[in-house]
Symmetry: C2
Subunit: 217 residues, 2 copies
Amino acid sequence: MTQQGFLRARRPEHKRQRREAILDAARELAMRDGVRAVSLGGVAAAAGLAKSNVGRYFGTREEIYLELAAEAWQDWGDEVGERLRDAGDVEDIVATLTETLAARPLMCDLLGNISTSLEHNVSVESARSCKRVVLRVIADLAARVAAAPSGLTESEGFELVGMVTMTAGLLYPVSNPPPVIRELYAQDPAMAAACPPFLPTLKRMVTAVALGLPELR
Amino acid sequence: MTQQGFLRARRPEHKRQRREAILDAARELAMRDGVRAVSLGGVAAAAGLAKSNVGRYFGTREEIYLELAAEAWQDWGDEVGERLRDAGDVEDIVATLTETLAARPLMCDLLGNISTSLEHNVSVESARSCKRVVLRVIADLAARVAAAPSGLTESEGFELVGMVTMTAGLLYPVSNPPPVIRELYAQDPAMAAACPPFLPTLKRMVTAVALGLPELR
C-alpha cells in the first residue's frame, strides 16, 4: 500500500483493509481491557487512524462491537454446528454448546453487553445486521440440536441455544469480576466461595434446562 | 427543617433525610430513564443538592445504585419468602419467584447492571455491603424453596434463586429494548416476533431448571 493510499483509502480493497484494521484493534483492546473499557478514541489510536477517519467506517464504538458480536456469533455457530454432528447424548450436546463459549471470552463479554449497552447507541441498520446473524445462527443450531440425540424439538432447541448464550452473557462478568470484587473476595473467602465458576455453572444450568424442557410439553 | 438545616445537614436525622432524598431521586430517575442513563449530576439536581454535597453520602453514582439494588433484593426476598409459605407445587413456586420480579422493573434493570457495570466503580465496602444482602436473601429463599413442595434440596434452591435473578437481569433489557431496537422491530415484524417476552420466557426457563435439577443428582 502506498503512503498516499494509507492516508486516504479510496480503492475498495484499501477500504476493506482499513475496516479490518479497525475491527482488529477493537478486538485486541477488548480482549485486553474488556469491552466496556474501550473508547472510540482508543480504537482509532490502536489502529493508527484519526478518530474522524474511523467515523467513515463506523458511526460509534458500539457499532464496531456489534459487528464483532455478529462475527463472534457466526464463528461460534460454525464450530458448534460442526461439532454437534458427533454428539452422542445430551451431555455431549451441552459440552459442545458451553465449552465453545468458555473458549471465547470476547464473545461472552460481548454477549453481556449487547442488550444492556451496545444496542443503545447504534443505527437501526447496524442493529438489524447483527440481529439477522444472531437469529440465523440460533435457528441453524436449533435444527442441529433437534437432529442430534437431545430429546428436544427444534423449538425447544431454539430456547436452549438462546438460554445458553443469555446465561453465558450474564455469568461471564459474575465469574470474572472487576478488581474491586476480586479485592473483596481476597478479604472474604466465604463470599469468594459463593461466586459461581463459569463453565461448571453454565453446564449445570443448561443441562437442567435440556432435561426439564421436555417435561413442559 | 430550617433553611439552615437544609443547607448543611449536621444532625444525624438530617443526614438520614439527605441520604433518603438522594436515594429517592436516584430511584425515580432510574424508573423513568433506566439505570444506565442516570448521571450523578442528574441525581444531585433532582434531589436539590450540589453534586459535591451528594459526594458526602455516596462516592459514585454506582454506589447509589448498588445500595438501591441491595434494598430491592431485601424487599423482593421479604415478599417471596412470605408468599412461598402458601406455595402448593412447583408451578406456584415458579410463579412466586418470577411474577414478583416482573412487578419490579427497577430491580430487573439493576440486576442486569450490577456485574456488567455497577461493580466496576464502587468501593470495596459498598460492594461488600450489597453482596452481603444478596447472599443472605438467596440463602434464606433457598431454605424456603427447599421447605416448600419444590422437590429441590436447599443447595438446588440456591441455584434456582440465583438462576432466576440472573436470567431476569439479562432478559429484562432484551424484552424491554431501547428506541433503536423498537424502531427495528416496527420495521421488521419477524424480528419482533423472535424477541422473548419477559414473564412467559422467565417462567418457562425457571420451570425447566426446577424440573431438571433433580435429574442431575
